[in-house]
Symmetry: C2
Subunit: 596 residues, 2 copies
């Protein structure tokens, strides 16, 4: 049956050895004294919470779902107790600043924590999932009085937070948002001004629930005299309960019946002249919200890693136990029997190695991006911060789209390993398939991420940001070539970086005459870049696996196992990249309008 | 909201013009007098049943599911009434012989019917889904007395039939089946011998329900003195109610809680010395069952086409209505507005054209295979029958695996077109995603199909069967080249046929030294062949679309629309084939054993 055990040894080896995070942290004063052993201790405790407290609530939560009455939402049995344990353990505040009640640990460890939480119970993880983003918005944009009132409550998770963007007519197109903000007593609007909020929002995760005494809504809204479109959007904070304890006029009118994450309440919200306060400057709400959204996008990318891991470890366990048919070829030293573990059959070896290679590669990349996020925020050198921030900007849409796509697709492919049992609820994998689908959509659909990558990250600066990143990635080619006998993947990585550069140059040169080309090519460009990054991760894993000083330690997989998965990634999965590069580069392929 | 309207004009154009089915039928005495107009009339009536009677039961059936008590299974509201209308309309007997109460129409029209039924309600379609296979088994293997008792009941759908293969330890590996058959009074076993059946079966679709007065189970079982493995399996017929009206000792002990097709009862069956009769020779049960399974595999392939069509038509309708953001580029003659239909945005055009091109190509192939099935069964010339049967044998595993994969993957991709609404049950597409997943698993998993194709269809005869098929497909290259200005896809098809031939030759030559290579390459070989066949379909569609005598008529899409989708298939989807050919041909790629 479905279980989740955090692969702490794998996670720790990747961050401590393959990425050498402790060396990065040593350069960041905020993480002074943080070493590999402390990181392992944090991962182990997080793993215990995820595996022992949270994972047992996953399947029951899917069956029970949330229930709604006009009085509010009830979460599935066990969710509230798990949330209490989460807050008591200090987990919400892991990466918040000590002065706001936080533990001041790196984003990298927070990313690993959320990978584990999603793997254990994606629906539950939706509730605390926006806490860190809300914390960032309040920290950077709220006036001191509001910070004093809300920041620590949110940092510690005592109160949960939501992000209210979508309206029925305004999904990917937030410029169409209509929710009104009227300054109280006709005051002129400024940061911190009290406002009355009126409007309807949909798809609000955790818009109501029974986990915390209060809920803090961050609401995208429009002042009466604001310009139309996204430049007329403001941001307001609207608590469920006012500072004096009175119930505010914000209501949950219903919840959606969804394909997955059924334990997460997806709320239809109504604001009836609800009392709130502006956060940040009027009409600058979207840029304040983007701070939250970028953090949220990386967070969603981690959900993809969590789903990958959950699918991979459960598939391996099932395939080792299930006996069907004799294998044409058996592992050395095993005897004959009427039926062998399906893990020995070639089609299943392909499926299992696909899962493992994707998990290893994507996790390495995700942790690296989180490490860069810490450097971008904390490095004492401004130039280093700027370079790291440039890398993060480019990598964030890739992480969101590529990892969630891998997570869902891999779970869906993994289901086949169970055969007919995979389609049955009690084996768990079908829930992973359903839960993982939403991550491709929310926080900006994967198609929106691809356009963001193409237009605002690859082309807008003439390609300089991308070239800096490719140069950095190229260091791995040189490291592999310095040790070519044991790390043979340098050439494969070099070819990918070259294809990326060539495709991007073609687009930069051709977009003037054919402005739609980058839009037609966006999805393939993102997939191509994703594959190039995976090549980097597989090469780097392989190089450290075979290095006696960097080899994985006891408790995890062997060096040979890491190498097998990396080699499979290079030989069997990377060829897919050529299709993406070829399609992205085909300037004249027709893409006609369709429809009746 | 989700609807289904059978695309009768599209279907009819493909079968009547692109495939010229009436010319084939004219050569088959069994279909004497059947013309294109009659076929259209059948399609229109079937379309009315699917769209008006069946489709409205789809979403409610998913929500209600089946309910089980020890007394049996209750199907969702509306299922029984729809089934009665189906039987009253004579639909079960469409392709059965007139002497068995059937209408004697071609398999091609039956395939189109089942495409419509699946698109309208996959769960419901599971109940009559095995009727035709059971009819074939009884017709060809039952002794006259049993034929007299059961054949017409099954042909007309008055009684429904099931296929009892799987046991907990015996899924893909039927050699592990343990269910016992004991001849009554110790008689020696022969065709028609009364037997007592004892054992447990799982995953039995329609093992119990409230749609018909009786249910006829075809049960794979083992006589006491039978050899182990698949050569010791026999087949028995076990009715729920005996000829004298007594209840037989066959019981449904429960139903599965599944990811999808929730209105289909997936039963755990128990046979407690249930009375039955052998069908076919003792120990030859699997070959009798294979007759049913081959018919069932093409039937499952049609489910893929149904899901493709349901996803495609609903996605087109939604994308035409949903307004978000201005499009960078608009169709000629349209004005400006704050937000355009999402169908105009490049990422959505890609998604919609992908759906349309796959639907058109896969449907053309599926109908062609069904047409060959009729020729294999009915053509007066033995050599023609044999050649058609060879084509069908090779194409059946491809149809089952490639079409179901396309159906599910396309539904899953289509969901993204709805954005967040796609994840919500009431928009319907998430149900299509869940329902379509099972088709990749049952009737032999898609991995099993790939091994079947590789070992028993491509390599076993030294490649002659495949070469004959490629020669036949190559006629389309010559037809395109004869008219190269308007049908430019001949070269693309020729390249695919060449890649197929080269890859297969390499495997034929190399399999002796590396017997596992064909197994490692099987999945890619099937996908490669699937792409080559799609290239054939797109080329053929394009050639007929631009031919003034073959152009689509009123009521369907225009020639330009058919051509757009075919061109998109060739330019954007076909490049994927090269990855499959490349991987199938890489002899030395490592595929190590994995696991703990």
């Amino acid at each position: 049956m479905w279980t989740y055990r955090a692969p702490v040894a794998d996670m720790h080896w990747l961050l401590a050895k393959v990425l050498d995070a402790p060396a990065s942290w040593a350069a960041l004063p905020a993480f002074d004294g943080l070493d590999a052993d402390t990181a392992r201790e944090v991962l182990e405790q997080a793993g215990r919470f995820a595996g022992e407290v949270l994972a047992p609530t996953n399947a029951p939560g899917d069956l029970a779902g949330c229930t709604w009455t006009p009085d509010g939402v009830t979460t599935p049995p066990g969710f509230a107790a798990a949330y209490k344990a989460f807050v008591d353990g200090g987990w919400p505040a892991l990466a918040c600043a000590p002065e706001a009640g936080g533990q001041g640990l790196p984003q990298l460890l927070n990313a690993a924590l959320y990978e584990m939480l999603t793997a254990a119970n994606h629906a539950w993880t939706m509730y605390p999932g926006l806490l860190h983003g809300a914390y960032e918005v309040l920290l950077h944009h709220a006036v001191p009085e509001l910070r004093a009132r809300y920041l620590e409550k949110v940092a510690t998770g005592e109160w949960l937070a939501t992000m209210n963007l979508t309206e029925p007519q305004a999904g990917s197109d937030l410029g169409l948002v209509r929710t009104k903000a009227d300054p109280v007593d006709g005051a002129s609007a400024a940061n911190g001004t009290p406002v009355l909020i009126t409007g309807h929002k949909i798809f609000i995760s955790g818009g109501d629930h029974d986990l915390t005494d209060n809920i803090v809504h961050l609401v995208l809204c429009r002042l009466a005299d604001a310009p139309s479109g996204t430049r007329g959007l403001s941001l307001a904070i609207v608590p469920k309960f006012m500072p004096d304890g009175a119930r505010n006029a914000v209501f949950c009118d219903g919840i959606e019946k969804k394909m997955g994450i059924k334990g997460s309440a997806t709320c239809q919200m109504r604001f009836e002249r609800a009392q709130g306060w502006l956060i940040g400057e009027p009409n600058r709400g979207l840029s304040a919200m983007f701070l939250m959204m970028n953090s949220a996008r990386l967070h969603v990318g981690m959900q993809g890693i969590g789903h990958l891991e959950a699918a991979t470890q459960n598939a391996h366990a099932y395939a080792a136990e299930r006996l069907q048919m004799r294998a044409a070829h058996r592992p050395a030293g095993t005897g004959g029997s009427a039926a062998d573990p399906i893990a020995w059959h070639p089609a299943m070896r392909r499926a299992l190695l696909t899962l493992q290679a994707r998990t290893d590669g994507a996790r390495t990349l995700a942790y690296w991006i989180a490490l860069l996020l810490d450097e971008a925020g904390q490095h004492p050198d401004a130039e280093h911060r700027r370079a790291a921030a440039d890398h993060v900007a480019l990598l964030t849409p890739v992480a969101k789209a590529f990892f969630t796509d891998l997570g869902h697709r891999s779970a869906d492919e993994a289901l086949g390993i169970w055969g007919g049992y995979g389609f049955v609820h009690e084996y768990g994998i079908e829930q992973t398939v359903r839960d993982s689908r939403i991550a491709l959509i929310y926080e900006g659909t994967n198609e929106i991420q691809a356009v963001d990558l193409m237009q605002r990250k690859l082309l807008d600066d003439g390609g300089r940001r991308a070239e800096a990143l490719r140069t950095w990635l190229g260091d791995e080619v040189r490291a592999c070539h310095a040790d070519a006998v044991t790390c043979p993947f340098g050439d494969a990585l070099a070819l990918q970086l070259e294809a990326w550069g060539d495709t991007q140059s073609a687009l930069l040169a051709g977009a003037k005459d054919d402005p739609e080309w980058p839009l037609r090519a966006a999805d393939d460009m993102l997939a191509g870049v994703g594959h190039a990054l995976m090549a980097w991760a597989w090469a780097r894993i392989a190089r450290h696996a075979v290095d006696p000083n960097g080899a994985p330690g006891a408790g995890g997989r062997t060096a040979a196992q890491w190498l097998d998965a990396a080699r499979f990634g290079i030989e069997w999965l990377l060829p897919q990249a050529q299709v993406h590069w070829q399609r992205a580069a085909q300037r004249n392929a027709a893409l006609p309008f369709v429809g009746p």
